[in-house]
């Protein structure tokens, strides 16, 4: 107690150097905590988006690519699959539901996804939560659009607003489907998944608005007017879809179905299990994560070394101090302990500051991450194993402080009370 108080007073005396050291260590801890937090949050964010889906089926491609493309809108869309394949999948035993997805168009840079009512009924996110509408209702008309939370928030959309869709992706589109305005029918509750940034229209509408666009650009004078389209909608069901999300009645059936779909002869298909594919993705990103982690740990080590350097450089100017303490009854080990206590206080300060800075940064970055990547990051605080790592850093801090402490110990024994200035 006495020593701790002395250590505290001694630190206060050198507060500018000490604060800088605490800040250095704090920054390094913040980096470490942030890297770990974001890593966990990003992973959880991905898992959130596919929590209810047993299989994703698309055209033959790499599993990771299919997953990133269909669910997260990352990368360029690949080939489509035929409507017959969708019907084939729907016919399979054990298939409880399917959600067809049609991707390609956009609205002010956000993805427009063509789907069916099955999407609102069966899609699950996070802990198998169903989608909820914050306002309005699902599709009632051919030219209805249901928008994700972020889309409504960012562009200030409300139920009843009319919007135009753009042909193809990208922020600035030269070709708009001007002849077919869509009415916002519903706004979804926030989910913390890419759903928040998507616009959903009936799959049939996808087919209808592309009549006359077969060459990739609108052929003037072609196409359907709205009433014509509503009447003949079923004739324009899209012949191809981008992917299908599949839910099964029994999870155990997933392996058999995946194999049979991958071997489907009528068309080359890829069926992936989202969870397993994410694992593959983590294996890909694992190296980068490892590098980030290593860098963060190196920075922590640098911070601790900086502290030892500061303690060592003060040893000389504090020689007098040590002699005074010793002459007044401090034992040599108590003087060594004083240095270890000082280091402990510095590292503790750095840990507290670092965790606070990391969580603060995550809170500050959260909206941006949600906006740009559709990733929900939460301030969950370090997990138990991360606490263990932080505790380990504290111990390492004390351990490296033994270097100046032992030097001080030796020196006090040799100096005794002899120091003169």
């Amino acid at each position: 107690m006495t020593l701790l108080r002395l250590a505290w007073r001694s630190l206060l005396n050198r507060r500018s150097t000490v604060l800088l050291t605490v800040f250095t260590i704090g920054l390094s801890i913040a980096l470490l905590v942030m890297v770990e937090q974001l890593r966990t949050d990003v992973r959880q964010g991905f898992y959130r988006s596919v929590s209810g889906t047993d299989l994703i089926v698309g055209a033959r491609t790499a599993p990771v690519q299919l997953l990133l493309n269909t669910v997260f809108g990352i990368g360029t869309p690949g080939n489509n699959i035929s409507h017959e394949s969708l019907e084939y999948i729907e016919e399979q035993r054990m298939v409880e539901w399917t959600i067809p997805l049609l991707i390609g168009d956009s609205h002010r840079g956000e993805r427009v996804v063509g789907t069916t009512d099955a999407f609102f009924e069966h899609y699950r996110y996070a802990d198998r939560q169903p989608l909820e509408l914050a306002a309005g209702e699902p599709f009632t008309d051919l030219f209805d659009v249901v928008v994700g939370h972020q889309v409504a928030r960012r562009f200030g959309y409300a139920v009843g607003d009319e919007i135009h869709l753009a042909h193809g992706g990208g922020n600035v589109s030269l070709h708009e489907h001007e002849e077919h305005p869509f009415t916002i029918r519903g706004v979804l509750e926030p989910t913390g998944t890419p759903v928040d940034r998507n616009l959903y229209i009936p799959m049939t509408a996808y087919g209808v608005i592309h009549v006359g666009w077969e060459s990739g650009v609108h052929r003037p004078g072609s196409g359907l007017d709205a009433d014509e389209a509503r009447e003949h909608a079923h004739e324009h069901e899209p012949e191809e879809i981008s992917a299908v999300l599949v839910g099964l009645t029994a999870p155990a059936a997933v392996f058999g179905l995946q194999r049979s779909l991958n071997d489907y002869e009528a068309e080359p298909l890829t069926a992936v299990m989202p969870g397993i594919t994410l694992q593959q993705l983590w294996r890909l990103t694992g190296v980068a994560e490892l590098v980030l982690r290593a860098v963060a740990i190196l920075v922590v080590i640098t911070g601790l070394l900086g502290m030892v350097t500061v303690l060592l450089t003060t040893l000389n100017e504090r020689r007098r101090e040590m002699a005074i303490l010793r002459a007044n009854g401090a034992r040599a080990w108590q003087i060594a302990a004083l240095l270890v206590f000082e280091a402990g206080l510095i590292v503790l300060g750095g840990l507290v500051l670092g965790i606070a800075m990391a969580l603060g940064a995550i809170v500050a970055l959260g909206p941006w991450l949600l906006d740009v990547f559709g990733l929900a990051v939460g301030v969950t605080g370090p997990e138990p194993w991360q606490w263990a790592v932080l505790g380990g850093i504290f111990l390492v801090g004390l351990l490296v402080a033994l270097v100046p402490a032992i030097m001080a110990y030796r020196r006090t024994l040799a100096d005794g009370m002899q120091v003169r200035l």
Binding site: I324, R326, A327, G329, M417
Partner: protein, 229 residues
């Protein structure tokens, strides 16, 4: 038997050196006695104090402090013994600059339970000693390094005396003071040493001061090792 300090056939050489710095047959300080130890620089004064303070261990001979043979104590034991029975005043820079004056005076009580017990209420004892050493109350809470050299030496004396140690070692405590302040310092120191019943071993090269002590000892006379020629 009532000697606070008794030295017998002491020999000490710094590690790695053949020539001893101390070679003293006999030297003692009685309880409550004020002894002036005079010697030029290099005559081994500081080494003798280090030996008495149990900070260095002699190669031969016996140092008895308050009836205990220092050689029989462990290193930790010697530390505790010093904390319990000795008050120390240096030439200057006696105080921890980052502690306030009162905290500096209380320091020995933090490391020695014996001293703390004898002092009773350490804060009160510190205040009493500070005012007895003629330090105004307005200084007591100030940082130690904001005081003048003379004031700092008086604070150091108060600290050496808190908890009434049997022996106070003073290593040229007045060398940084001018004549006026030196006399004033000695007056106050003597007063408090007598009040505490402590013995005083005062080391200086300034023979002028010697007259005021019970006894003057010339170190070169008792130390056969002497000063290097």
């Amino acid at each position: 038997m009532n000697a606070v300090l008794a030295i017998d056939s002491l020999r000490f050489a710094w590690p790695g050196e053949e020539r001893p710095v101390l070679d003293i047959d006999a030297f003692s300080v009685a309880a409550g006695e004020k002894v002036f130890l005079h010697g030029p620089s290099g005559s081994g004064k500081s080494t003798l104090l280090a030996a008495v303070g149990a900070l260095v261990v002699p190669q031969a001979g016996r140092i008895e402090l308050c009836g205990s043979d220092l050689a029989t104590l462990s290193r930790g034991g010697r530390d505790r013994f010093r904390a319990d029975h000795l008050g120390v005043i240096f030439q200057q820079f006696n105080l921890l600059p980052w502690l306030d004056v009162t905290a500096n005076v209380i320091l020995p009580c933090r490391f020695s339970r014996v001293r703390a017990q004898r002092a009773g209420n350490a804060e009160a004892a510190a205040r009493q000693l500070l005012s007895a050493m003629d330090l105004e109350e307005s200084l007591w809470q100030r940082r130690a390094d904001t005081l003048s050299v003379g004031q700092q030496q008086r604070v150091a004396a108060a600290r050496a005396l808190i908890g009434q140690p049997e022996l106070v070692l003073a290593d040229e405590p007045t060398s940084a003071l001018d004549a006026d302040r030196r006399d004033r310092f000695l007056d106050l120191l003597f007063e408090r040493v007598e009040a505490a019943g402590s013995a005083l071993l005062f080391v200086s090269h300034d023979l002028e001061l010697g007259a005021r002590f019970d006894r003057v000892v010339e170190l070169p006379e008792i130390n056969r090792a002497g000063a290097p020629a």
